[in-house]
């Protein structure tokens, strides 16, 4: 390869790496904002006027992230937790739920371009109430 082309390739790779790191930081920040919205939604007084608005913003943000092909959100109620994607914060007995089923998402997890930026922090079912 011509020397000036090799230099260009190096600069390009460096720029792409920087962009990737910037995007990672942006994604992490947005997921943290989603966590705060989730928290707000969970604890707003029943029938509060803001509830629908909070939910709308949460959905909008989630959709925007999900639409980005390289971003994958982890952590949803009802999914089976796994050690490589979920951090178990607590275990609870939940009627009708298999062991390791996510009962509550404390913090969402996120993966960017296949690399896990953080796991989801979750409360899972013990499985003791699975037969109920």
């Amino acid at each position: 390869m011509e020397p000036h082309l090799a230099g260009t390739e190096r600069r390009l790779l460096s720029e792409l790496t920087r962009l990737d790191l910037d995007t990672e930081t942006l994604v992490e920040t947005l997921v943290e904002a989603l966590d705060r919205l989730d928290l707000l939604d969970r604890h707003l007084d029943a029938g509060a006027r803001e509830t629908s608005e909070v939910r709308a913003i949460t959905a909008q943000l989630s959709s925007a992230l999900a639409a980005h092909g390289a971003v994958e959100l982890i952590g949803a109620r009802g999914e089976r937790a796994a050690p490589d994607t979920h951090h178990v914060v607590d275990v609870t007995d939940a009627a009708g739920l298999e062991a390791d089923t996510v009962v509550k998402v404390v913090k969402r997890g996120v993966r960017y371009r296949g690399t896990q930026l953080r796991p989801a922090a979750v409360v899972v079912s013990s499985g003791k109430g699975a037969q109920a």
Partner: protein, 705 residues
């Protein structure tokens, strides 16, 4: 061959590699992380059990705390009864049990199966090696593994065993401070005649080591660990816990509720504490805001909104930081040194990045001495990696051939490689932190510690160190090996035991030599020989054998009893010498006369302990003096024997005396053996007037006692 350095930590482990040509080291990520939690757990799903190691195990800990093994390093090679093990039992949720088949060492339960700590460490090492291989894109075959300087024989052996179980050729087990010093030394320009203190404040433990560092004529650095101390339950995690406690206190004060039982609150508080600790390293104040963090008395969710200043944080951790300085003073006092005598201080461990910690150390030693140019999180692994890639085999002392580290004997000339040095050696010399020796009998004291390898001995040793003993129990020998500095064996830590039955042809009065030697990995090689015979036993220490039972306390009113017993024994021994001297070797007779003189002095002037010791010496004279003792016992037994027993006994006594008169030694030996069997049978019925010599269960006796 791909070799790595592994810092196998209590809380986290780190892996590094080193390119000797470019003199570049680098950390290897394992599972995407530079610092891997030293944790093993199990994920049970759909009837299958999957072993989890590292971060995944930690994430799953809450789900199955009983099957999550944290800080297994605290248990490595330790007995179940060890206070450190009992403290770990109190602090951890998993089950810690004694080993199977009377193995006194602590084991852990994982999925209802008993595992040695070495096996659990092997899971971690295997994971680290596998992850490193993935990063390097080459199979990892060899490793240098680090251990704390205070690790004893059994603990080092357990670590080496863990490496081998993980499929690695363990090139060297090296002290953590030495590894840190290697990482530092390769970058230093002026290392001559330095005295280096390594201050290692990790996640859960604190270690101080004092090293002497010099350069030889070729410019190669030498390191010797000359002193160490520490606190096995003090680390950076304590600082996080203090902040969490402060958050809990804030809630208690402001909301009059205790959130510490809420796992979700504790998770968020711990995350916030770690973040605040990092923030306070560079800022004067940190805000801790946790929305809807706890349940109020009214049933609503309350917020944590507090701030923590650096001054408050420093005041919180000050007692613990001061404790580290107190321990440093102890180390310096032990060596009669002051802070002025230390030329360099190396900061190791993530917690040394906290300003309060390094500023306190700088204040104590002087800022110019404290080196922070070595990454404290990485330097131990990097030092190990340097060594792993500098050593390239073991050089045979006989023919010079370089063999692989896994070889026991030279591939070329079959010469033993036990005391061979590594090829490409960096001339790094670790020294033993404590004396290694055996429990033997001295006089009547059965709890005597006889050091064989003294403290501060450099290894690999060029040749073994030998010590001579006598037998106490016929052919059976039991050599419990202890490590420590107390003259009482029971106050040191038992590492293992060697038990052996000597062959019949060995005279029970023979001298027995015990030789100890440490190879380059501080693995102990024990040789037992009987001078004047071909007998030579190369035995390995059994780490899983039951420990030596505690010495029973002396009975009450023992002092009076001792005097009476000693006078009685003196009279008996005088009679014995008079009646059986012809059956004693001249040196034996001389020794007994000298013992009688000494006994007279002891009765008149000595302390009770010395009288007991003398009593034991006379008892030994009476009952362990070859054919003469056998005849004494037989004559006493014959007075009680009746019928056929009496006839057989008297015939055998006559045979012994005849054979002795005729100088037929082998016949004497044979008849004496027969005599002992007969006497034993009669004694089992009733021969009360002969006091038994104490049963020492095969312990060896110091020759000069």
């Amino acid at each position: 061959m791909t070799a790595i350095g592994i810092d196998l930590g209590t809380t986290n482990s780190v892996v590094a590699t080193y390119d000797p040509e470019r003199k570049r080291s680098r950390l290897l990520t394992v599972g995407g992380e530079r610092k891997v939690p030293s944790v093993v757990s199990v994920h049970r799903r759909d009837g299958r059990d999957e072993l989890l190691v590292g971060r995944n195990a930690l994430r799953w800990a809450m789900n199955d705390p009983e099957n999550t093994i944290l800080s297994v390093k605290r248990l490595m090679g330790r007995d179940f009864t060890d206070p450190a093990v009992q403290e770990t039992r109190r602090q951890r949720s998993y089950r810690i049990v004694p080993g199977p088949d009377d193995d006194p060492r602590a084991h852990v339960m994982l999925l209802d199966e008993v595992h040695a700590p070495a096996a659990v460490s092997a899971f971690i090492l295997e994971y680290l090696a596998g992850g490193a291989a993935q990063t390097l894109n080459a199979p990892v075959t060899h490793a240098v593994i680090t251990v704390p300087a205070y690790f004893e024989e059994a603990q080092r052996k357990a670590t080496q065993e863990a490496g081998e179980r993980a499929g690695l050729v363990v090139k060297r087990i090296i002290d953590e401070p030495t590894a840190a010093a290697i990482a530092f030394g390769y970058e230093a320009t002026d290392l001559d005649r330095r005295r280096v203190l390594v201050y290692d404040l990790g996640g859960g433990t604190f270690d101080i080591s004092l090293l002497n560092a010099t350069r030889d004529r070729q410019g190669q650095p030498h390191f010797q660990v000359i002193e160490f101390n520490g606190d096995t339950w003090l680390g950076g995690d304590d600082f996080d816990a203090l902040i969490v406690e402060r958050i809990i206190d804030w809630v208690r004060t402001n909301a009059e509720t205790d959130p510490s039982g809420d796992p979700e609150f504790m998770f968020r508080a711990k995350e916030a504490a770690e973040e605040a600790k990092r923030w306070l390293s560079e800022h004067d104040s940190a805000d801790i805001l946790l929305k809807y963090a706890y349940e109020t008395a009214e049933g609503t969710r309350g917020d944590v909104a507090m701030s923590l200043t650096r001054a408050e944080f420093e005041a919180m951790i000050e007692p613990r930081v001061d404790r580290t300085i107190k321990l440093i003073r102890t180390v310096l006092d032990e060596q009669n040194l002051t802070s002025y005598d230390i030329t360099d201080v190396l900061l190791v461990g993530g917690a040394t990045l906290i300003p309060k910690v390094y500023e306190t150390v700088e204040e104590f030693f002087g800022k110019d001495k404290v080196r922070r140019d070595v990454d404290p999180m990485e330097c131990v692994a990097i030092g190990a990696a340097i060594l792993a890639n500098t050593l390239h085999g073991v050089r045979c002392q006989s023919c010079g051939t370089v063999n692989d580290e896994s070889a026991d004997a030279c591939a070329e000339c079959e010469h033993s490689l036990v005391n061979a040095r590594s090829a490409g050696d960096t001339h790094v010399h670790d020294v033993t932190g404590m004396a290694l020796g055996i429990n033997a009998v001295k006089g009547s004291h059965r709890d005597t510690f006889v050091p064989i390898i003294p403290r501060n001995t450099a290894y690999p040793m060029g040749e073994p160190i030998r010590h001579s003993f006598a037998l106490t129990d016929g052919k059976r020998i039991r050599v419990p090996v202890y490590e420590g500095d107390s003259m009482r064996a029971s106050e040191n830590r038992e590492q293992g035991v060697i038990e052996y039955e000597l062959p019949q042809e060995i005279d029970v009065h023979s001298r027995v030599d015990v030789a100890f030697m440490f190879d380059r990995n501080r693995v102990l090689h024990v040789t037992i020989t009987v001078p004047g015979t071909d007998f030579e036993l190369h035995e390995k220490l059994r780490f899983d054998a039951p420990r030596t039972p505690p010495v029973p306390p002396p009975p009450e009113n023992r002092d009076t009893a001792d005097s009476t017993d000693l006078i009685f024994a003196q009279e008996m021994t005088t009679e014995f010498l008079c009646d059986y001297e012809q059956y004693l070797d001249p040196p034996q007779a001389m020794k007994i006369r000298a013992d009688l003189d000494l006994a007279q002095q002891t009765i008149l002037f000595a302390e009770p302990a010395e009288r007991r010791r003398m009593l034991s010496v006379l008892e030994s004279d009476l009952f362990n003096s070859g054919p003469a003792s056998a005849l004494l016992l037989a004559d006493h037994a014959a007075e009680r024997a009746t019928g056929d027993e009496a006839i057989r006994l008297n015939q055998t006594i006559a045979s012994v005396k005849n054979a002795h008169r005729e100088g037929r030694r082998s016949v004497v030996d044979e008849q004496v053996r027969y005599l002992r069997v007969l006497v034993s049978a009669i004694r089992n019925q009733d021969v009360p007037e002969i006091p038994d010599a104490e049963d020492y269960a095969g312990l060896l006796r110091l020759l000069d006692s």
